[in-house]
């Protein structure tokens, strides 16, 4: 499926990545940013600030937290701490996609730049599509997608700020649910390894459970603890049994 070399130029793959903007996850994300611009206006954040946040942070949960902190006038250090704790998940997300995105010759600065555009939606998009792109063009392909998606959503915030004060409740509620429901189906569909399916189940059960037990660090406990548990069970039970089964 994935070719080692390809005659089409890098610009072709950049453009192919740009076309990902019409994919289902990209369209779903745009509705979320329409919602964010309404939220920012309500919270008293200016249009310019909301745009700067969208392009500069590019992670909706972190943006919501920062808006909340800024409106209560929290000190800079407190804002930094709250946002950085919510963003720790970026590290394993980026680390898990980088080995698929680079070749031995891909410069690190290009990966550092491209990593800014990784958030959950782009991560899911990369999991689904990178395999079909020749390895040497994957970083450029992803950059085409990420740069376009981020720029367009910054534009959406610019235009929709003050335009949409609120959706009707039925529409707002259904739109809110679109994102998690899409993630559930598409992440399962892209799970090629048994360990990913196991971690999927552990995360989905562990997230809400941990929110009841330890609401401050729930996602970290469910993610790092649950992910590690899933890995250990997969390595020492599932894979061992499968090996024993195939040896028979």
């Amino acid at each position: 499926m994935s070719l080692d070399s390809d005659t089409r130029p890098a610009s072709f793959w950049f453009y192919t990545g740009m076309k990902g903007i019409t994919s289902l996850p990209a369209l779903i994300l745009m509705t979320s940013f329409v919602g964010f611009s309404a939220f920012a206006l309500e919270a008293g954040i200016s249009r310019g600030e909301a745009m700067f946040m969208t392009f500069g942070i590019w992670a909706l949960p972190a943006q919501m937290i920062l808006v909340g902190m800024m409106t209560t006038g929290a000190p800079l250090a407190a804002c930094f701490l709250a946002v950085t704790l919510s963003s720790i998940r970026m590290m394993p997300m980026v680390a898990s996609i980088v080995p698929e995105m680079r070749t031995r010759r891909t410069p690190t600065w290009l990966l550092l730049f491209a990593s800014h555009f990784i958030a959950i939606t782009a991560w899911v998009f990369a999991l689904r599509t990178l395999r079909d792109v020749p390895r040497e063009h994957r970083a450029v392909y992803f950059l085409g997608f990420g740069l376009t998606l981020t720029t367009i959503n910054t534009g959406i915030v610019a235009i929709c700020y003050g335009l949409v004060s609120q959706f009707p409740p039925l529409v707002a509620g259904t739109l809110f649910m679109l994102t998690p429901v899409y993630f559930v189906a598409s992440i399962w569909a892209t799970a090629h390894h048994s360990v990913v399916k196991l971690a999927f189940v552990v995360g989905i059960v562990g997230g809400p459970l941990m929110a009841l037990v330890a609401p401050e660090f729930d996602v970290l406990y469910a993610g790092i603890g649950g992910g590690t548990a899933a890995y250990l069970v997969d390595r020492f039970y599932i894979r061992r049994r499968r090996r024993a089964g195939s040896a028979r």
Binding site: W58, F80, I88, P99, H116, M177, H193
Partner: protein, 113 residues
């Protein structure tokens, strides 16, 4: 706020951009050392997936905004039955999403939202 206009931009740059991108850069530096299909990458994949699913499940179980006033059973039924439809359809993501949305919208309508 009484500070100069640029103060809030500085807060966003430091407490937003820097606070988030530090982890992305660390992810690149770590990921650069991982080989495809190494044991370490298996573990990183497991942690990343569990983290993302924990965030996702929290959105369904503890939503904000309008959905916060909707019953939990409706959200769980819409998400769960949508996932079953997704599996039955041979893992067509569009089918799962459409079934979940239709169930949630009709449930919300029936409850008078």
């Amino acid at each position: 706020m009484t500070e100069a206009w640029w103060w809030s931009y500085l807060v966003i740059a430091v407490a937003g951009f820097l606070a988030t991108d530090i982890w992305r850069w660390l992810g690149v530096l770590t990921g650069n050392r991982l080989n495809e299909d190494s044991e370490a990458l298996h573990w990183v994949r497991a942690v990343a997936t569990a983290l993302v699913m924990a965030v996702t499940a929290k959105l369904i179980v503890f939503p904000t905004g309008t959905l916060a006033g909707s019953p939990l059973w409706l959200r769980l039924a819409a998400a769960g039955l949508g996932f079953v439809a997704f599996l039955l359809s041979g893992q067509k993501v569009g089918v799962g999403v459409a079934v979940s949305m239709a169930l949630l919208a009709s449930g919300l309508w029936w409850l008078g939202f």
